[in-house]
Structure formats: C-alpha cells, structure tokens
C-alpha cells in the first residue's frame, strides 16, 4: 500500500490526507466541479475530477471513483464518512478492482447497515437492544400494531441508514400516518430505500457511543466512550469524552458489549457502536457506524492515539498498535462548526467565506476543510470544521473551548459558533447533567437570550457609524478606511453578501 485515494471532500478528506502524509503514503484526492479549488485538492499529491457538483454524479458515483483510483495508480481507497462510506457495494467494488478498502469487510457493513438484521444479530450476541420490531414494518398499519405492543411514544427509523434521516418521534396513534409518510419519503431520498422499523422511545436518554478497533488477526479493542447527547434532529452538534455519565465500571461494561457487537459481524478496522444510556445506567444498542466518525478526534485526544493512521496501518495488514486497557487522560470536547444559522432554526447557509480567523494556542485543534475564499454551496453537508479542545479536566476543557470559540471569526457565512459559545457558558452544561432533550429545551432557550441594553447600544452606535461612513463615501458595503488594499475576492464577497442576505 503506497498510494491512497481519498473518496471524500471537506474536512475529512483533509484529515485523511494528513494521516497519509504522516504514514509516508501518497494521497490522491477526488473532486467535483464545485470543489475544484478546495483545500483537499491542493493538499493531495494528485487530484482527479469525478464529475459535476451533484453528489450522485461525483462523490456517490462508484464507477468514477474506481476509475479515478485506477488512472491515478492508487492501491487503496479511504471512504471517510458519509457518501459511500457505509455502502457495502462500494467496499466490494473497491476490492473487486484489486484495491484495498480502508474500512471493514463488505459483509460487516451489510450486516450492520440493515438495521433490523443488526438488531437480530445483537440479540443473538447478548448485546442489549431497545424494545421494538425485529423486521421492517410494511405500512403505517403494521407500525401501529407494533407501537401498541411496545407502547407510545415510539420512534420510526429508516432500516437502511442513520444520521437522523428518515426518523420521526411519534407520541400517539393520531400522529402515526403522517409521520410514517414523512419518514419513509425522507429515507427513500437519503438511502434509496424507504423501509422503516419501530423502536420504543427511551425518555430522556443520553447518546453514548463506544469506539472500537479490530485488526485482521482477531484482536478487537475499545477506546471508551463519546458523549453525543447534544444533537438537533439527531444531528450531533457537540461531543465529549469521557461522558460525565460514565464511570470506569460502566465504561468497561459498555466497552465489552461493543467489542462483542463488533466481533459478532466479523468487524475489522475502526467502528463505533452507538448506545442509548438511560437515567438508571442501563444501555441499549442503537446501531453500529461502520466507518470513522466525524467526532473521532475527542477519542484521539484523551487516549493519545491517531485513529486515522491506525486505519491505514490495519488496512495494510499490520497488527493493532493500540492495546486494550488504556485509560482516558483529561477531557476533550468537540464543537461542530457548521454553515447554519442558529438564530434561524439552524437553516443551512450558503456563501463565500470572506474572512476566517482560526483559534489556536494550547490544547486547541482545528480540523477544517475550508478557508477564506471557499464557496459554501448547498450540494453537500454543512460541516465547515471541527473545533476540538483538550483540558486536564472537564471544567478546564469547557473554559478552553469557550476561549477558542471567542477567537474564531468567520465572515461571509453564518455559523453555529454563537450556539456553541452559549452552551459553553451554560451552567446546565457545566454540571454535566444533560440528555438528548438538551437542545430542544435549554438549547433553544439559550438562543433566545439577547444581550444587555448597554451591548445593544454599542451595536447601534457601530451600525450608525457604518451607515454614516457609507453616506460620506458611498461604496457598497464599505465603511471607514482601509479599502484601498482590499483584494478582489473580498470585494466580491461584499457584493455577494448583499445578495445572500437581501
């Protein structure tokens, strides 16, 4: 294995290319027309065009990716997360082409990808699962029968995928038909399969997942948990490790269950077993993500490992270099910086990043895929970067994250930064007593808070002075001096800005 094709874009493509560099491997990037000028394209040893911007014609197009690997002389393919990462047929196509797939065997992806099949296997392996249907429900009527059996509230979930797409909470019988229709159509669009299954809704749980890693020689280890309860519509926003709700005894039990889950499907390489953890400390298998996770850096920081480099080594045939029995050291937190406007219900935003100033300093890690000048479109997901910090304990990590968020400046596209900063300053978050309801309750409340009147006055003065400057020297968007040395793209950004917000 000498040359790795990275079948992804954005921050994860950059992350994988970095790992390749550090392992002494060459990296081949792929890109759609929308990403021609992206960071990952310039960082790679070679970049191959896949096709037009729509994902179906580029990052989801299996034949074109295999062809790009062949043409560029790559001997391995890393899928990243999202796109084709959990498509068994992609893993097969890679191997059929004589290339190494940097991930689990296709059979393991398939076993975990079909959610009802996965539940059956977990039950057989002695891994606790949430009560619910062990098969796909064909229609709303069948879902209703199942719901009556286990009791409302229930969750409708897509059999073919995760990530919150095709998922609906249903509180009562009356809500079921509409929810079934919506979830099914969303699942069909996201995964090409509208099949749903029913699960009992556990009230007020935490979402806690276990990182596992296996090599080809039968060694499987776990690397503790990640707490991912701060989510909006099942999309994670903030993750931390360790979880404030998990002690070493519970960690050992959950870890052991996760290892059993991985072994039950013949798992190899990095994977994540997701659990719901209820208020009494009982945990239930949710699903297994058969790929590297977005939030893998928090595990890296507290366990002192490099999961992506380990992926490369294990795929090459090395034995695991991570022993079982490592303990987490200190505390890590990740905030997902997305191009979404938290003050408008996290609506996805588009535009040109006109200016970007990235936090740094002790204990701060920025895993980003974009820079000043990057155009953020609507073709792909809205993750711009992951801001990750390490601290000697949880409260130090929270203060460090607040400090890092205060340093971050993104101009041109609204981001989730204000939300994260409010969470870091929230005593409820600091207490560690939160669950997956946090976003809908505390999170929304935090976003409604407005600054003190004295702060509003300062904003008013600034706006009036900017308006005055514009009247005195009428230029679109300009206020004050210093425009002479402005670059072309900055000017373009301002002009664009008028249109995006207008």
């Amino acid at each position: 294995m000498k040359r790795v094709l990275v079948a992804n874009r954005g921050e994860i493509a950059v992350r994988i290319i970095r790992a390749c560099r550090e392992e002494g491997l060459q990296a081949v990037a792929v890109y759609s027309d929308a990403d021609r000028h992206s960071l990952h394209v310039r960082m790679a040893d070679e970049a191959v065009r896949l096709g037009p911007a729509p994902a179906a014609e580029s990052y989801l197009h299996i034949e074109r990716i295999i062809e790009a690997a062949r043409r560029s002389g790559a001997d391995a393919v890393h899928p990243g997360y999202g796109f084709l990462a959990e498509r068994a047929e992609f893993a097969e196509a890679v191997e059929d082409a004589g290339l190494i797939f940097i991930g689990p065997p296709a059979a393991a992806i398939r076993a975990m990808g079909e959610k009802t099949e996965a539940r059956r296997r977990m039950v057989a392996a002695g891994v606790p699962v949430v009560p619910g249907s062990t098969a796909v429900v064909a229609a709303a009527g069948e879902a209703l029968e199942e719901a009556r059996r286990i009791g409302f509230p229930i969750l409708l979930k897509a059999a073919a995928g995760g990530g919150g797409k095709g998922m609906r909470r249903v509180n009562s019988e009356g809500e079921l038909p509409a929810a079934f229709r919506q979830a099914s159509s969303e699942a069909a669009k996201a995964f090409g399969d509208g099949s749903l299954y029913v699960e009992k809704l556990i009230e007020g749980p935490r979402h806690v997942e276990i990182q596992v890693f296996a090599d080809r020689y039968g060694n499987t280890v776990h690397l503790g948990e990640r707490e991912c309860s701060i989510q909006r519509r099942h999309q994670k926003l903030i993750e931390e490790s360790p979880s404030p709700a998990v002690n070493s005894e519970l960690r050992a039990r959950m870890g052991e269950a996760a290892v059993r889950a991985a072994q039950a499907v013949g798992y190899v390489n990095a994977g994540t077993v997701e659990f719901l953890l209820d208020r009494e400390g009982r945990f239930y298998f949710l699903e297994m993500n058969t790929r590297i996770q977005v939030e893998h850096p928090v595990t890296e920081l507290v366990y002192g490992v490099d999961l992506v480099r380990e992926q490369l080594r294990v795929a090459r045939g090395d034995r695991l270099s991570i022993p079982q029995g490592l303990s987490p050291r200190g505390h890590a937190i990740e905030c997902r910086i997305t191009a979404e406007d938290p003050f408008q219900g996290f609506l996805p935003a588009t535009g040109l990043i006109a200016f970007l100033s990235v936090p740094s300093g002790p204990g701060v890690r920025w895993d980003g895929g974009f820079e000043a000048g990057s155009e953020i479109g609507l073709f792909y997901d809205s993750l711009l970067a992951k801001l990750v910090v390490w601290g000697e304990n949880r409260s130090a990590a929270i203060r460090r994250m607040a400090r890092a968020l205060e340093e971050l400046v993104v101009v041109g596209v609204p981001t989730s930064q204000p939300f994260h900063l409010r969470v870091m300053r929230d005593p409820g978050f600091a207490s560690g007593q939160y669950d997956i309801e946090y976003m809908e309750t505390t999170g929304m409340e935090l976003l409604r808070r407005r600054p003190a009147d004295s702060e509003l006055d300062l904003a008013a003065v600034a706006a009036a002075l900017a308006e005055e400057a514009e009247r005195v020297k009428p230029q679109p968007g300009a206020a004050g001096q210093g425009d002479r040395r402005e670059s072309v793209w900055l000017r373009a950004a301002r002009l664009e800005g008028v249109q995006w917000f207008g």
Binding site: E186, G345, A462, L465, V498
Partner: protein, 166 residues
C-alpha cells in the same frame, strides 16, 4: 446626522455630528475604524477598542461579535421603517420568504386557514434535509404562492400571512 437604529424591540437614537456622537442624547466619545484588508472593524470607545464584524445586509447592518449576531435597521428617523432585531425574528410584512434555495415538498396550509406563530406552513427540502417553514406570527393565510414540487430561490415569496379578523 441623526439616525434611528432599531434592534429588535429596542430603538436607539444616534446623533453623529462634527462635535461628537450622542446616544439617546448622551455624549459618547467613540469612532469606527476598519482593520485594513479585512472585513473587521474596531469600535473605539474613549481609548479602548472593541472588535466587531459589520456586514451590509440589504437595508440593514449585521453586527457580530463572539456569540452574538444582531440585525440593526438604520434610518433617518422618518415615518415607517420596521424590522431589525435578532436575525430570524418575525419582521414586518406578511410575506414568508424562502430562507434558502430548495425544493417545496409539501404545502401544509390553505388560503383562509388560521395559523399560529410557529405552526408549519410548508416543507422545503435543502441539503437533503426537510426543513419546516413556520409561520412567524398568528394570522390567516392570505395567499399561497408556491406549490409542491416547485424549486425556489432564496428569498422567494412562499406564503402571505394576514391579520386574523375576528
């Protein structure tokens, strides 16, 4: 020049004259300068500087600093002029616009239907997510300007909400 600045429900009068700046009549020693080559500004208050990001947004200014983003509507204090406040707060006018380009999946209301603030009007798909567009206020649906299956641009008129007549 005397400006009226509206931020949400707060109205501030700012007078800018050669002699100095007054906020609601109080003199304030201040100024605004741009960090050369960037879209960053410094608001000077006496001898201290405070960093801000100011972005023109149509008729408004977006004022941002760590953790805050405020919409400021600046005018000369004439009649009319509404809006301002936190981005996303219900502004003036009864037209609900598309906050982003997308595809209208379903329209959930009909003309004449009474709606409450926050109730769903239609579902817009963007970035493979279904986003419910909600009514910014209580009222009655006057017009539905789009239909299911229609692709819309950002800012496109979707639904008009009028006053509920008792």
């Amino acid at each position: 020049m005397k400006y009226r600045v509206v931020l949400g429900d707060r109205e501030v009068w700012v007078e800018i004259a050669p002699g100095g700046v007054r906020i609601d009549g109080r003199p304030v020693e201040c100024g605004l300068e741009r960090v050369p080559g960037t879209p960053l500004y410094l608001l000077r208050l006496g001898e201290s500087l405070r960093p801000l990001v100011l972005t023109r947004d149509g008729r408004d200014w977006l004022v941002e600093w760590a953790g805050e983003r405020l919409r400021a509507r600046v005018d000369l204090g004439g009649l009319g002029g509404s809006g301002g406040g936190r981005v996303g707060s219900p502004g003036g006018g009864g037209i609900v616009r598309a906050p982003m380009p997308g595809l209208v999946l379903r329209v959930e209301v009909e003309v004449g239907q009474r709606v409450g603030a926050g109730s769903g009007l239609l579902v817009l798909e963007a970035m493979k997510m279904e986003n419910e567009i909600r009514s910014p206020r209580d009222g009655v649906v006057r017009r539905v300007l789009v239909r299911a299956g229609q692709a819309v641009e950002k800012g496109a008129e979707l639904v008009e909400i009028g006053e509920a007549v008792e």
